[in-house]
Symmetry: C2
Subunit: 267 residues, 2 copies
Amino acid sequence: MRVFLELQFDGTDFCGWQRQPQAPSVQSVLEDVLSRWAGVRVGVVGCGRTDSGVHASYFVAHTDLPETCAERGWEDGLRRINGMLPPSIAVAAVVPVSGQAHARFSASERTYVYRLHEAKDVFLQGKSVRVYRPLDVQRMQAAADFLVGTKDFACFCKSGTDPHATTWCDLHRVDVTRVAPHRVEVVLTANRFLRNMVRAIVGTLLEVNSGRRQPEDMWDLLASCDRTQAGKSAPACGLYLTDVVYPDEIWPADWDRFARRAWVERD
Amino acid sequence: MRVFLELQFDGTDFCGWQRQPQAPSVQSVLEDVLSRWAGVRVGVVGCGRTDSGVHASYFVAHTDLPETCAERGWEDGLRRINGMLPPSIAVAAVVPVSGQAHARFSASERTYVYRLHEAKDVFLQGKSVRVYRPLDVQRMQAAADFLVGTKDFACFCKSGTDPHATTWCDLHRVDVTRVAPHRVEVVLTANRFLRNMVRAIVGTLLEVNSGRRQPEDMWDLLASCDRTQAGKSAPACGLYLTDVVYPDEIWPADWDRFARRAWVERD
């Protein structure tokens, strides 16, 4: 039987979501724990491949478990699974879905948040990126506005990515908002994101902030389709996957959104 | 010349504010860094003595610096001091005050926040305390309401404290609030707090939550003046000093509250 796992992880100590031969990944730790709990070897498929050091306050993965797991009760299972996982990975809910539901291919929308702060803050260490120049939110937003829509984002896509894959995305929103006197967040929602895309966009917006670029330069940058024309990639520790949206028919009718909303609303 | 330092610290790796012979304290680290920067040995006096592992999102200390320090410019000084301090201690502002201003004795009010969460959350690890029983905010508030006012809080005071010191405090507010679907905060404001008082109060409120005590039991508990009658002390890592209030005449007329508010508003 197929289930969706609603997850959260602190990416600091992981090489990203995806299993790698030499380094600990969220996927490999989760697969090991689930396999121990299920009593058979199980694999998990994630909603996306977050880079090394990137966090997720909401992440969805699917896995196929033996029917006997359901008989043991999900509530007890969740407690045991969380107890076996390290403090840096948490499962909020196990949701039975149809065998056609796919964590990656069924998702219709994803949201990322990039966190920046302008003054030393001991509680944001490794959880947000410190900038040493005041952030001009209006100016960054003016540049961000050029990015919204269905466009070719090749200039923000890590080179070395499959050259045959499309680099077109439908970016629904990019909002640059001051959330506290010394904190700014960039929120991006799209149907899909390319590798390294959010960090490249934020790095470019920071160059607009510093005056090295003008907001209207975004136009030529997009047209260039050239990664070397965009800004330096912003550090991983400021980036969070915060939401993944699936069509309503994916979720069971009696599904309680409480567990999920517990995290999503906090951000 | 006397200055107030507006500070923030993550208490995880410290034995508390106060200098101790064997363990790193916030005071000792701060004194060492300030002395290196000032070029003479300086001491600092804190607004209170937080316990081992307790955090502060806002803390005030005073120190007396040579006049030459002011000539070098506070903005540059602040940058250098923060650069020398570990990531777990930050100084938001250096504010020149009169020689009579005292970080501890001039303070008229302090606020502490105690953070609790009911579901595994990777981003609250060490920053909030996990409880394994749903929190009944109304019931906890009903008990908390008995504590507000000018009362003898001896039953919440760590034993071994100076028996001649008064255990009366004026507790202005105790608010138990659900701040997110799985997060509850207890906010306490008083003219003064006794040693271990907030953690003993929160530990007792958790026993009210679990049903071991009734809200109205607070009345007899206060009357007992006996620490052994109150609940177990709640863990240090959920506790934050979040605000310290001084009379307006302490602060210079042109003082910009921005730096301070940056942190205070975040909580």
